[in-house]
């Protein structure tokens, strides 16, 4: 892959915070997801298609799919470099990729996201040809992860189930559960013992419906097997049985 010298690649220096460090000294996986999405927000603001810019046009960004591969984990107090760039449009999806590198340039994380632009009135995707200029901003043929993240399957027969109730700390400015909180919920389905020897190696999530304050979400889990080492998870709103998210996670030693 050719590394383009484009102004459209944002580069940020980030210090790994001392909180949100896991019991083994590695940054928590969901915290890295927060760092990635925060870099997207910084970039969108820079090119005038951030949250507030979109609000003026009565449209808003919705994260639809997220795929992250961990090559190595940064550790407490490390400095890392975060890179992000928009890759243009794939059907209705606005694609954006990310890399996290160590201070001396080792590749720690690669990730890709697929976003929708929804209309504030209808809640339906709005086409990109309208009066904002998102389609001018993209880096061609440079991928952290090339494929558009998969649509994940429903879980027919879960091996186990748990549940969580959306609290104040889960909410964001839209009064919905924050996208990365679903990832935190997924991580909380696994016990301390797992994290003593393993961590998330690969993760994919589809966002399908929002969750609001006080809503109970059932999490159905299909265990990894010899045939398929991924764990599959599905979060279902208890009140109306809508699927809030589907995810799959692969654990490995680091």
């Amino acid at each position: 892959m050719n590394y383009p010298e484009s102004d459209l690649i944002l580069r940020l220096d980030n210090k790994i915070p001392s909180y949100d460090v896991s019991l083994n000294g590695q940054t928590k996986f969901y915290t890295l997801c927060n760092i990635l999405l925060d870099s997207a927000a910084v970039h969108a603001n820079k090119y005038q298609f951030g949250y507030r810019d979109m609000q003026k046009e009565n449209v808003y960004w919705v994260l639809s799919r997220f795929h992250i591969i961990m090559h190595e984990y940064p550790r407490m107090d490390d400095q890392v470099k975060v890179e992000t760039w928009p890759k243009g449009v794939n059907k209705l999806f606005f694609m954006r990729d990310y890399r996290i590198l160590s201070e001396d340039g080792r590749l720690l994380t690669t990730a890709t996201t697929a976003w929708l632009v929804l209309d504030g009135n209808t809640g339906r995707p709005r086409k990109m040809e309208e009066n904002y200029n998102l389609h001018h901003f993209h880096v061609d043929d440079f991928h952290a992860i090339e494929p558009v993240p998969d649509k994940l399957p429903r879980i027919k027969e879960p091996d186990r189930q748990t549940h969580v109730t959306a609290r104040y700390s889960d909410l964001d400015i839209n009064k919905h559960v924050n996208a990365v909180k679903y990832i935190e919920w997924v991580q909380d389905c696994y016990p301390q013992e797992l994290y003593e020897t393993q961590n998330v190696k690969e993760f994919q999530i589809n966002y399908q419906a929002e969750t609001r304050y006080g809503e109970k979400v059932q999490i159905r889990i299909m265990n990894a097997s010899r045939r398929d080492p991924f764990e599959y998870l599905e979060g279902i709103r208890a009140s109306d049985k809508y699927v809030a998210f589907r995810a799959r996670v692969l654990f490995g030693a680091f």
Copy 2:
């Protein structure tokens, strides 16, 4: 108060992250607490008494008391300046203060913390005269909040109770619930409706015992009254009835 031009005041520029923004666009209170304590960790590392330095001496820092006053809340994507400095020793407490200022210098937050240095073998406080040189580093007579944070009272007759169970996401590198997670738990005792018009104005917490993975903590709450507008909270480990923390919080409109 005289503002000293000391090298011992650390000044950091922080961008308020786009996640952890409350439903009203203000940063979540507990996120500001994370930013404060992270600045303390950066400063301790700089002067070789950080987590890893202390580990070599078989001692560790424990946050004992925390008092924060909010004058104004930063908002999503704001830049803020964080200042922190050690204030020397008060009995067994190592004192450290903090201020958060807006980009143009308005005072947003003042805070003070009281820390203990515990011996890795005995778990008891170790005296400061020993072979590390913490007592060389302090700024005299410069206070964000002058009084040492109070010892908070036990709650005899709670008005209501709730509970929480410690999850993976609550843990830090010591396998205990992270100090700021208790603050998040306190905030989660209050409903979305409260945060639509109010936010935390003043907060104090005493840390008394650690909580481990899977431990259930009962939270007893004494409501504000006309005589005392603070809400008082007490977190009690279900297994052995030890008090994990005591806190008091004052809400106000911002």
